[in-house]
């Protein structure tokens, strides 16, 4: 018991000693550590965004799925059915040594007719992949499918063609040979595109969503109804302009600051870019966005 008393006698007097005084707490960081984008960097932003938008081809996602298919077999991944759609799933290794983790729904339908009330029917093709899977092949190819990839085209009898892209998630394709740049870069994509070819040969495109995970001056961007059109395609659009879109576009600079691109009603491609306390006029030609071949993602 003596030892116990000794310890307590030594330490049981928290009120003893000088009264402590609280030192004020300050935490500051050097604001100059963040350098806003330069004028040259700002001027290059629209072209960087356009290059990204036109470089994303959803076929690459399906091509990746097709390419790795030979490495798998009936045992791995297990093929099942989810409400009528082919479902592949498993945490497994195929005889080839290829490993598959997660699940994947893959559905491609071509050339079917859909009946809608009041419309005679139009031809519809679509591809839809959704899931959360990762395939690792013995030769080093690795494919990651995370999210939804849906693209479709439809034609009515009058020559109207509409195309839709809905790409949401992250899709990566690593392989010894060259992979599509956008999948090799492991971008995070959230894109919704509506594009139309009209019987008179004019076309229009509208984007929503954005892309992140970019390297360079622009590290991410987002769009709200970013539309470009070379003709009036419905009743609500602004006058046709192929040089400068309408809608909202903003981007995240490598400085961690968001910048807004403010489009005006003058069809000259020149816009104001504002953010991080700077404002600058930037000019760019947006017409290449409309220059697609068979579809906006095939150039």
């Amino acid at each position: 018991m003596l030892s116990v008393l000794a310890v307590l006698a030594c330490h049981a007097a928290p009120d003893a000693g000088p009264e402590p005084v609280a030192t004020p707490w300050h935490y500051e960081e050097d604001p100059s550590a963040v350098v806003p984008l330069s004028g040259t960097e700002l001027a290059g932003a629209p072209d960087a965004i356009m290059a990204t938008l036109t470089g994303i081809d959803p076929h690459d996602v399906y091509d990746a799925w097709t390419e790795i298919g030979d490495a798998f077999d009936a045992e791995c991944p297990v093929r099942g059915d989810h409400n009528g759609q082919p479902l592949f799933e498993g945490d497994c290794t195929a005889a080839s040594g290829a490993a598959f983790y997660g699940y994947q729904l893959v559905n491609r339908i071509f050339g079917f007719w859909v009946e809608f009330p009041g419309i005679d029917g139009f031809q519809h093709e679509y591809s839809w992949m959704t899931g959360n899977s990762r395939a690792e092949l013995a030769d080093g190819r690795v494919v990651t499918f995370g999210g939804d990839a849906l693209w479709s085209s439809r034609q009515d009898g009058d020559g109207y063609e509409a195309r839709t892209l809905y790409l949401y998630g992250n899709f990566a394709w690593e392989r010894p040979t060259e992979a599509p740049a956008w999948m090799d870069a492991r971008l995070e994509v959230e894109l919704h595109l509506e594009a139309a070819d009209l019987p008179d040969g004019t076309r229009a495109v509208a984007w929503n969503g954005g892309v992140t995970g970019l390297s360079g001056v622009v590290t991410a961007f987002r769009m709200e109804d970013l539309a470009l059109r070379d003709a009036r395609v419905d009743d609500v659009v602004s006058p046709a302009c192929t040089l400068e879109p309408t809608g909202a576009l903003s981007f995240l600079g490598r400085d961690g600051r968001w910048y807004a691109v403010v489009f005006d009603e003058i069809c000259d491609g020149c816009t104001r870019v504002t953010g991080a306390g700077v404002e600058q006029t930037v000019c760019a030609d947006w017409s290449p966005v409309l220059g697609w071949g068979d579809s906006p993602w095939e150039r």
Partner: protein, 520 residues
């Protein structure tokens, strides 16, 4: 600073050998996960006045950071990996290990700060995280080629620097629905880092409010006095965290990555980003982290959390002076966890042994595993993984006291007793066999030839030494415990036709199952 702290306490180091050893063992288990070595115990007994100096060395131990993080784990509540709160469909090679690593990421960052003596502000300002190869497979990080284990790495998806607030692990653990608008996450930040838990506040719900009416709720959180009291603080903090909003919670990459393009989703809810009334010019976790780092409560809370974890109780009003002393020590020591912990280790509340204030605690499952491994060289490993790291084996929760998701320990449980029994059987036999085969490198049986029957004095001497090493207890050679264990040893030898190795194994097992081993 040490002299100042000692002066503030108005006392010097303990001078009672056994009690000094008990206090040191407590700190050693808390901060290194092991009991004191035989040499350390002997030194302390011969020089009890060296207790303070020895305690001061514990934060320099390489095991310090992780063990401190484990002590703080109940606050962070990120380690319960077998829970439906987590993604059921992780597309990774080893899902169980992946889920365990997710829960560890925030704690590994804390441990890294502690081990590298970095300012605590790094926890919300660092432009790096700490991941293992399992996480590196799924996280957008730049993990060094060929490296192993937990490494300090940068995220490469453009997320702002915000320490733990920018880790995918924390926000995978703390999810948010769109409608909740990150409020739960904001409260987690407030609870963990500011010691301000809005969910603990009494909420006088307006009975006229229909909680199923989304529009009415949206209006109420901005105008109803019952709601505004909390939402005025929580909602602006939550507005900083939309970059971690996951549209699809069953897609690995969706949850793993930062989404800067979603940072302005707060506009849909009308409450702009801010921090306790101060508007922010950016809506991202970096801005939130800076605000947290500048908040005086941030440091006070670090002191409070660390003190609570080590003393094993929530601080009371009467502890205010002690907390202030520790805060000053932390600031004077470069705002580091080492400085803070060294101060707390001198607190009488931490060292208390007797009466109602006795700060006795129950050994957690992680500590049990590491302490037994240190004593016997034995750790359960199965081909599928570490049974004490991943909940899927069930051992960790059966072991009775998981420090994953709650500071309130359940007392010993029947299943914990069972786990300890099975574990101790194996560990004890491993140690006895090892010590018989390699006496020059013995774990525990250093004073007797294990394969032979020594004389009684040697037997008693070895048993005394076992008490010191396994239980950190001083017993006399003729103490009743020693008498009993001597009888047990002899009974086993008689029963096994002279198998002294088995007799030692049984004795070691018995000591590992002694309640004094797990209550420290």
């Amino acid at each position: 600073m040490g002299a100042l702290i000692a002066a503030l306490w108005g006392c010097a180091a303990a001078d009672a050998g056994p009690d000094a050893l008990t206090v040191f063992a407590r700190a050693s288990l808390d901060l290194r996960g092991v009991r004191p070595s035989a040499d350390e115990a002997a030194s302390l007994l011969s020089d009890p006045a060296s207790l303070d100096a020895r305690l001061d060395t514990l934060p320099d131990d390489p095991r310090f950071g992780w063990n401190l993080a484990l002590q703080l784990a109940p606050v962070w509540q990120t380690r319960a990996d077998e829970s439906d709160a987590f993604n059921r469909l992780a597309a990774v090679e080893n899902r169980a290990s992946f889920l365990a690593s997710i829960g560890e990421e925030p704690l590994r960052l804390v441990a890294w700060i502690a081990d590298h003596d970095l300012p605590w502000t790094e926890v919300v300002r660092a432009d790096w995280t700490v991941v293992d190869p399992t996480l590196a497979d799924a996280w957008p990080v730049d993990y060094p080629t060929g490296a192993t284990g937990w490494q300090q790495v940068p995220y490469v998806d453009g997320r702002p620097a915000a320490g733990v607030l920018a880790t995918s692990g924390l926000w995978w653990r703390y999810t948010s629905t769109y409608g909740n608008a990150n409020r739960g996450r904001a409260n987690a930040v407030s609870r963990i880092l500011l010691c301000n838990d809005y969910l603990e506040r009494p909420v006088p719900f307006d009975p006229a409010l229909d909680l199923t009416d989304e529009a009415a709720v949206g209006e109420a959180v901005q105008s109803n006095p019952s709601c505004v009291a909390c939402h005025a603080a929580v909602d602006p903090m939550g507005a900083h965290l939309w970059g971690f909003y996951a549209e699809f919670t069953d897609v690995t990459g969706e949850v793993a990555r930062y989404h800067p393009e979603r940072e302005d989703h707060w506009r849909a809810f009308g409450t702009p980003p801010g921090y306790f009334g101060v508007p922010a010019d950016m809506a991202n976790p970096g801005a939130l982290g800076l605000s947290v780092a500048q908040d005086p409560r941030f440091i006070q809370c670090a002191v409070r959390r660390t003190w609570g974890a080590l003393v094993q109780r929530e601080p009371q009003a009467s502890d205010a002076r002690a907390l202030l002393v520790h805060r000053e020590a932390m600031l004077a020591g470069g705002v580091t966890l080492r400085a803070l912990v060294r101060s707390v280790l001198r607190d009488p509340a931490y060292r208390a042994l007797d009466g109602d204030a006795g700060a006795w605690r129950l050994m957690a499952a992680d500590t049990w595993a590491s302490a037994v491994e240190d004593l016997t060289g034995w750790r359960f490993a199965v081909a599928e993984g570490d049974v004490m790291r991943e909940d899927r084996f069930g051992v960790r929760s059966l072991a009775g006291y998981v420090r994953s998701s709650g500071i309130v320990p359940r007392g010993p449980s029947p299943t914990q007793v069972e786990v300890h029994e099975r574990w101790a059987q194996q560990a004890a036999r491993h140690a006895a066999r090892h010590d018989a085969d390699a006496p020059e490198d013995a774990f525990l049986l250093r004073d007797v030839p294990v394969a032979e029957e020594p004389d009684e004095d040697a037997l008693r001497s070895q048993i005394v030494a076992l008490h010191l090493r396994v239980l950190s207890q001083v017993v006399a050679p003729d103490a009743p415990e020693v008498d009993e264990e001597l009888q047990l040893w002899r009974a086993i030898v008689a029963r096994t036709a002279g198998d002294t190795v088995e007799a030692w194994a049984v004795l070691i097992e018995y000591l590992l199952r002694d309640p004094a081993f797990v209550v420290y």
